[in-house]
Homo-oligomer: 387 residues x 3
């Protein structure tokens, strides 16, 4: 008995000594998590700029998109940090945030959501209104973030199908509905692309595709990243194939812009289940999403434009909107009814809060020349070139 | 004696307790390996898409390359995973695979090998035949993978000079030899590049160069990555210099396409010894490979086209073929005769299995307009532009 | 007492056994550090090539910049390694270097400094002189590296505002001053940009912005990377906003080239304090730097060209020069007078050593056609295109 007590004592002392002597190993786990998250957060910043290039295909309307992305990122990220760290954390008990990698992970996710959403009113607001909209977007995103993550329980949405993609699409549609006076056709002459500008779209789509695992896994623990990544890629493989087959079946040719967007459809849809299902389920979701997105571009988009007068020139609804909904619906067997609530809130609150932001923005007037860099940039002499 | 037994007992208990209490540190090593491999695997996906852009320099034949890359990646990766995980692992005892990062590392290496190989018949098959060829490629790659890694012992090829580059080149040449009816000239009018499209080639070549260490080290243990990476870079520095000097010495000017390909020659060649030799040996290999690749472009390529009728428009043999062989040959002093067997098998089995795939593909017919996006894409109105 | 000695003995044996049995955990910390640095070093290689594309906006003068970057990187990196590892380390006691990731980190920082510096004489030297200048640059950089890191103590410059940006700008200005015969106007016809080439500048600027945290943190310990990264991003947000506002206030429109350079101003300036201050101080520095850079482009640059005859076509002084000085000045309250010495040395030694390199280069003659790819590249048939 005395021996046993001695043994326990000795063991305790030794273990304590071990911990004291090997702090670097205990420490290592945090460093690994932080280093791994550093990589994924930088990847998402990369994606954010690629989203801009994904939209830069309209002739003589490229530079304003790039500038709007920069000021939109700067404005939204700074305001979001300020509200979370200096206001919510100090004076309220909701969504506690520290200056940890997780905070910066969600912050850049918020900013990329705005850049996606900006695609809907793109070309139809004045340059400084991109910054205004970015600032107005921040409290709206805090609203859905609070609702989905704190108010609801059990929503499956690690990769942001509902929080990011659906909300971006419907907030953006809310803005344009609040902004436009009537069913209007803002474009007098058809927008034209160039081989050169479509090259940017191919590059952006491919690299967004490649970086997507970092996006869906940014808030997951390190050990969950690989399984999530590979399921996500399999969803992407599915869209690669069905976007091609569906578009070719409908038109006997492939519109490169439709393909570049629809190849990402599976990645949008897998956001709800990316850390839950395996590769073959992921592949199946990707196959389905590729079909749905191409159908959206070919049939739903003209119908919606006809009914609402909205020109969703970047196809935000066809990629992020309906594929986000599809992702939410396929997750219902796993998550239950709460998933339906999350989908409905994202759609409803997105349209409602976006419309309010659109009405506010409308007070500042509309641009004289929609979809035209001449709004802000000197177009001579380089831009006199025939492309 | 009794004290000694007690001491051993106490020590054993304590060590067990330590392991029980510090699972996160034991765990950390796996997480580090996996996180580090995540970075390298994503880099290789990046490279795969860059290989596509490296080939997108022919006017009005850019988009089909991009689409072929997407469907080729999707098709080959999914079939390879299916065969390895669901067939070979379940029913055979060769090449056991688990759904681990290593599996996805070799899978994306397989897919990039196909994209390189696709460069040989590029523009000379119908769009859906890129997918067919991707599916046919998978068993061929499993064949060489089994031969080099399981059947042979002691091959030096961590970075894939023989498995990836040589096999890509000669499988691709096999396909075109099986595909074409006779010595034919498929091109009626000369292919033309544009400043814009050559810009893509510069960007792709530079970024491929930069990412190459992730490619050669993807299956190595974490601790071996840095020495491998830096030896690889020194091989790249060598090619930067001799590709420039050799091309200028021959032509008194530098063909940007030749330079962009030949600057990668050292990186192709170092694949056999990248984890074995130091920086100065690596540099010497890179110096040699740069010279060999430029000589290949200037003298060997016209000779082979004359003799075989094959138009290797992307210069796959001049970069991947002969530099892969060069890499294999310089490794013989380290590896011995087995390296010669590996080189010979990659060349012979590549040509043979490729020719069979080419013959199968030939049954589906040939495209009406080689090297022309009009095969699949709407060329109006953007493509009416003068570039 | 005897029990106590026994206890100590047992504990010591057990701890030793633990270390022996868990080498992978002790080992892990180094692997984490190395893996994390691998990511940042590759990011800097990425940035180095992006710096080239940031300068590729002049019509018919794009390819020589790309080639100069490749041979400049190869030449400078190899010589620097040789001097550090084979000469300084073997025969001298200054700046000991091992073949560790840290060495390659500082080596690529040295090379990117040369590529930035090359921007000043760009287009005004013969193609092989880019390689000569790269080799001449290496001992100059070793000089400032020794002075700032070994001779001085307590300089705040983890992110290289003084060592990299200031030195690049003033060494480059030294070269052109040593190179040109008199106040000369090298350009007969105005340089023209194209929409396409300006697209490269947008992409490069955005991705440089995104990758900047890896640059400023490359030599810092792992645990310091995140705080440094996020302070750096906040400096970047500041420049996004004030570069836009200042440029618009001055010109009522935004010159895309000025904006693409000035958006990086905060990142240049934060290099001194990036690992010292928090996000809001970083943001303030970025706000200030954005204003300063735009003022430099609009007012200082024409004044300096008038006074010196130097055509700093890439605006190196307006971004790297004056924002580096600004970064140094704001660090004085933290670092003290030593920071002033470092600033003065970077300016003075940069101009002096650069001028000597310029005089040496001048002996090889000047190019017949400044800013013209025809110096080295075949311009037919692709380049006959209207862009």
């Amino acid at each position: 008995m005395k021996d046993f007590k001695k043994l326990v004592l000795i063991a305790a002392v030794t273990i304590a000594a071990c911990f004291f002597l090997v702090p670097e190993t205990v420490f290592a786990q945090n460093v690994v998590d932080d280093a791994f998250r550093y990589v994924r957060v930088l990847d998402i910043f990369f994606m954010l700029f690629l989203v801009a290039f994904l939209m830069m295909f309209i002739k003589k309307f490229e530079w304003e998109i790039a500038l709007a992305t920069c000021i939109g990122l700067g404005g939204s990220f700074v305001l979001y940090t300020f509200l979370k760290v200096e206001v919510l954390q100090q004076y309220f008990s909701v969504m506690p945030a520290t200056e940890s990698p997780s905070l910066w992970g969600i912050a850049v996710v918020m900013s990329i959501t705005y850049i996606i959403a900006m695609g809907v009113p793109l070309g139809q607001v004045k340059h400084w209104q991109y910054l205004l909209l970015a600032l107005l977007f921040v409290p709206c995103f805090l609203g859905i973030e609070w609702f989905e993550w704190e108010y609801l329980e059990g929503v499956y949405d690690a990769g942001g199908s509902i929080l990011v993609h659906m909300f971006a699409a419907y907030w953006g549609w809310g803005v344009i509905l609040g902004l436009q006076e009537k069913r209007e056709s803002v474009i007098e002459e058809p927008m034209r692309t160039t081989t050169h500008s479509v090259g940017w779209v191919w590059l952006s789509a491919m690299l967004l595709w490649m970086l997507w695992p970092s996006f869906v896994s940014v808030l997951l623990p390190s050990a969950a990243v690989w399984p999530t990544a590979i399921t996500t890629y399999f969803a992407g493989f599915g869209s690669f194939l069905t976007a091609y087959i569906t578009e070719y079946a409908i038109n006997k040719e492939v519109d490169p812009l439709v393909y570049c967007y629809a190849m990402l459809a599976g990645l949008v849809a897998i956001g709800t289940l990316c850390n839950v299902v395996g590769i073959w389920t992921g592949f199946a979701i990707g196959l389905g999403a590729g079909v749905i997105s191409v159908l959206g571009f070919n049939y739903l988009a003209p119908f919606l434009t006809e009914k609402t007068g909205v020109l969703d020139s970047m196809g935000v609804n066809n990629l992020h909107g309906i594929c986000g909904i599809f992702g939410g619906i396929v997750a219902i067997p796993w998550a239950g009814a709460v998933e339906i609530v999350a989908i409905a809130f994202s759609l409803g609150f997105g349209l409602f809060s976006g419309a309010i932001c659109g009405l506010i923005t409308r007070a500042g007037g509309r641009p004289d020349h929609p979809f035209d860099d001449a709004d802000l940039f000197p177009l001579e002499p380089g831009r006199e070139e025939p492309f």
